[in-house]
Symmetry: C2
Subunit: 373 residues, 2 copies
């Protein structure tokens, strides 16, 4: 089914908005952060673990699943939801970002992008049509168009040409999705040039996408420039369609971009940082490896309802982490997912209460917006 | 509290027996296989996962916990059960076996054994008194005496001298456990010499241990010799005390040693082999890496009630395994634990039905006693 986004509240003090994104299989409260399940699993967690944090929508990577186990196999196994035993909703990216950041020896033409797999060096090819075919095979509720992600340092002329091709690829992606019951999001590029971003938004918003994403803003330039771009673009984005800022971010990023009217985010930080021992808590970040936790009988976060915080002390989790026990990765990941889910629930609550600007100020002055100590 | 072993049934056709081992915190049906939780966690599983397989008694390694995080810390955190959030019972080994197989540069004297930690090369010392102090700190329901595990190839004179010292160490261990509410098991050594084994059993059985273990039989010599030794010793073991064969074994080993009257086993096979992709099923062993499972939509075992078999296909688990996803290790471990738990339940059922010899014959002719194909 085609999604609907019901806006329940527009904040009076900022451009933030709270809504419910109905994806058929799941109704998702927005703003939402999607955890990343690269290979069809949120790393270290079972579907039950993911669901236990209140998560109803995850992201899976087309690039990775295209290479292994392949979209044909996933289709044979009944689609990605059934394959991974996930009863929530799934957004799949197009693979473009990974081709441009992970794969080797890529060669871009109007037809698509030829590359060598980072797994085995084999020659592969991704086109808008193939990216959409793969995502139709997965059966994800939301498919992303294939776009080119130019390097942050690319010059203006390159970015303009790339943007134009991304628009043509967007049209081909839509054509390839014809007849599908699922949703397709367009992606706005344009580097860090405000005028190019606005021009590209016009082109993408003119097409019948169910949602619009901002790509290429999670890497490269400094944080201030990124926020200026987002602040300039979001007021021009159609209000009735979900707005998705790709690859963002840290807690303070999420809190601030929501103020500009972003509805959706995805980020590997909750999961990847957990595997590095970084834990997000209501009192700030900590690293479980730190000797300060050696004899600490407290949970990771006294205020957290997750299974890790209910069962285990910091001392035990530190011991597990230092002993390379898999349970440490699972428990830290579960906790971080619960933290980010709780953060987004607080964000949404503040919008519903009509006082989001004050929430942002408090948050940015508080311990959660600070670096690990 | 001191344990009780209530024998519910002595098989008429073999020396097998079925009982209930009451350890206070848990009543454990015997024969039982204890999964191994080396560092205070059954590798890759949470306590809930372990409990979901019906497991009520696990083994933890004193050597590992002594080195990291140290028994003093575990005591400060309220003991091992609380530290690892496990509400079942725990048997701890003495550390002896690991000192003799893992540690470097060990030097054995009457006082104890000096060694270098395999973790950081630091100089450490383990004596009967220290091994018991550590196990008292852990608060395990069952502590094992410190014994010397002579190399399988040691000559008879060495083994005799070693046995005599192990007996003296056993007396010191008992002395060190005086006043403890928990249980202590003695360990019978004697290499692969039947007469030495019997002599040592006399010495150990004469002491007030709550249970008696057979050590040094899981390594070295061939399987036939080991079974001959066990067959010769078990008829002489006190009937009222639990009999524990250490470090055994594969499904066919468990089935056969139960026939000789063994009540307890521990083994890393269910957990370690899972991490290598080996899966035990009612139709035999398989390796999940095998290409035969690529498109297999069946669970690991159609007859298994575990969470892995309820949720996932072989195709998905193979994909996860090949993608180095932690969830693969957890699910294969969970399944193998459930398989072995189910096997021991079938073993016990056959004893209770009074027809264990027929069960052994069927089992040894069936697919479960065969090597992976």
């Amino acid at each position: 089914m085609k999604l609907t986004l019901a806006i329940e509240k527009n904040d009076a003090t900022t451009a933030a908005r709270a809504g419910v994104l109905d994806l058929g299989r799941a109704k998702v409260e927005t703003p939402v952060l999607m955890p990343v399940g690269t290979y069809g699993a949120v790393k270290s967690l079972s579907p039950d673990d993911v669901a236990s944090t209140g998560t109803r929508l995850i992201l899976a990577n087309t690039y990775h699943l295209f290479l292994r186990p392949g979209h044909e196999l996933v289709a044979k196994m009944g689609g990605l939801h059934k394959f991974m035993a996930w009863d929530g909703a799934i957004l799949t990216d197009s693979g473009g970002f990974q081709v441009f950041s992970l794969a080797k020896l890529r060669r871009i033409t109007e037809a698509g992008v030829a590359f060598k797999s980072h797994l085995d060096g084999s020659d592969r090819f991704l086109s808008p049509e193939i990216a959409m075919e793969a995502q139709r095979a997965f059966g994800s509720e939301i498919a992303m168009v294939l776009d080119e992600c130019p390097p942050a340092a690319a010059d203006r002329a390159y970015i303009e040409a790339s943007m134009a091709m991304t628009t043509r690829w967007a049209a081909r992606s839509l054509e390839a999705m014809k007849g599908s019951e699922n949703n397709t999001f367009g992606i706005v590029q344009g580097g860090f040039h405000e005028d190019l971003r606005l021009r590209h938004l016009d082109e993408i918003a003119a097409m019948p996408f169910q949602g619009i994403a901002l790509g290429g803003l999670s890497v490269g330039e400094d944080r201030g420039v990124t926020e200026e771009i987002v602040a300039a673009i979001t007021p021009q984005m159609p209000v009735e369609r979900p707005r998705y800022l790709m690859g963002v971010g840290m807690p303070e990023d999420l809190v601030q971009y929501v103020a500009h009217g972003v509805d959706m985010f995805d980020c590997v930080i909750p999961t990847r940082n957990a595997r590095n021992g970084q834990v997000f808590t209501s009192e700030g970040r900590l690293n479980i490896r730190n000797a300060a936790h050696t004899e600490d009988a407290r949970p990771l976060d006294e205020e957290c309802p997750c299974a890790a915080c209910k069962a285990f002390t910091r001392a035990y989790l530190r011991h597990l982490y230092l002993s390379d026990e898999i349970l440490a990765h699972r428990m830290l990941t579960l906790h971080n997912l619960a933290y980010f889910r709780g953060l987004m629930a607080r964000v949404r609550g503040a919008i519903m209460a009509g006082d989001y600007a004050a929430f942002v100020d408090r948050f940015m002055d508080g311990p959660e917006a600070r670096k690990e100590t």
